[in-house]
């Protein structure tokens, strides 16, 4: 960890500090996880004290929070939203459905492994994870940002072809605009 930190320039440290303390979340409310976001944000758990705050559109958001299983139809939109977000950007997979399919492991229409399609920075385990777990996930993300290791966007950009191939496997009619950064 120390090594990572030493490798950062001073500018990066400042930038990452700002990024770490200002996490604007675009909650993509799929599945049952969406219901866990309101308690996280409101008085009881108050994620805003960590600088976590809802963002209305992908253009403004830093974190894409995927709260549950993703059907193929939804997946298309999620990819779209992710690609519209602006660098630097992070993905949090939320709940076991995003990790391994969870109870939908044999469903004909939900993806099982999110990180084949999008670069996930942090997974939050649970079915469903409670707000405490969510906060812990955010804290983990902050840590990774501060260390400069939350570089999912860069990974996505570098391995775009691989991701595209995976995405196109389940979405044959690919009509989206080109990914342009």
């Amino acid at each position: 960890m120390m090594n990572d930190k030493n490798s950062q320039k001073i500018v990066d440290i400042i930038q990452n500090w700002a990024r770490k303390h200002s996490i604007w979340v675009l909650a993509y409310g799929t599945g049952c996880g969406a219901i866990e976001i309101p308690p996280t944000m409101t008085s009881r758990y108050d994620a805003e004290r960590l600088g976590v705050r809802g963002a209305a559109t992908p253009r403004q958001a830093d974190v894409l929070l995927i709260t549950g299983y993703l059907t193929v139809k939804t997946m298309k939109r999620v990819i779209r939203v992710y690609e519209q977000m602006q660098d630097p950007k992070y993905v949090i997979g939320f709940g076991s459905c995003t990790i391994n399919g969870g109870m939908y492991y044999d469903s004909y229409n939900t993806i099982k492994v999110l990180d084949k399609y999008l670069p996930v920075d942090v997974y939050i385990n649970g079915c469903m994870p409670r707000p405490e777990a969510v906060l812990s996930g955010f804290a983990q993300l902050q840590k990774r940002i501060a260390e400069g290791r939350a570089n999912g966007a860069q990974q996505y950009k570098d391995n775009l072809e691989w991701y595209r191939a995976n995405q196109k496997k389940i979405i044959p009619n690919w009509i989206m605009p080109e990914y342009n950064w």
């Binding site: 492991y105 469903s107 496997k169 979405i171 009619n173």
Partner: protein, 189 residues
């Protein structure tokens, strides 16, 4: 209640010769089976003449063994507080029947779903091709001969160790002191 039900059965039978009624349900349910050609006319009759103005649902049952699909229309009369099931059987290999969304607009949605999930074709149905399953390539997934696990295996990646859900199955199998219904056992293979 009983008189009303009798009355309904009388009237239906008088008007539709092929309607086979089944009146052994409790409370406010009446059940008819008709040929698929009769469906629009009987639904029209129920709606316009007998006050069954509400279409509750259209459902489909896959009788794999008999090689037939059964489409069930459930209509409801707010005045009589009676619901009527109208059933019809279709050939499983060529499930075609008449579209009824001119009777109830909402039938359109149900029909789209059935078209996608069971492969029932409604002649004259005007709707976009895709409904819930975008970019779907496999067979209609709600038919009983569709193997969802195999399809998932073929289409998606699995996190290693979760391909066959062995742990889940073992857990279920090893449960003690718990009545496991037969269908659950069957389901967990």
């Amino acid at each position: 209640m009983k008189e009303i039900k009798e009355n309904i059965i009388q009237r239906i039978k008088a008007n539709f010769a092929d309607a086979a009624e089944k009146n052994d349900f409790k409370d406010n349910r009446v059940d008819f089976s008709v040929k698929k050609e009769t469906i629009p006319s009987i639904l029209f009759y129920l709606k316009d003449e007998m006050g069954f103005i509400h279409l509750s649902h259209i459902s489909c049952v896959d009788w794999l063994e008999e090689g037939e699909l059964e489409v069930v229309f459930i209509v409801w009369s707010p005045k009589d507080k009676i619901k009527v099931f109208v059933r019809t059987r279709l050939d499983r290999d060529n499930p075609v029947m008449d579209n009824v969304d001119m009777i109830w607009r909402q039938a359109n949605t149900y029909e789209r779903e059935m078209r996608e999930m069971f492969g029932v074709q409604f002649t004259g149905l005007v709707a976009p091709e895709e409904f819930l399953l975008e970019d779907w390539q496999g067979p209609p997934p709600f038919r009983r001969d569709f193997d969802t696990a195999a399809y998932a295996e073929k289409t998606f990646w699995h996190r290693p160790g979760r391909e066959d859900a062995q742990d889940v199955r073992e857990t279920i199998a090893n449960r003690d002191g718990e009545e496991i219904p037969d269908f659950a056992k069957k389901y967990s293979r």
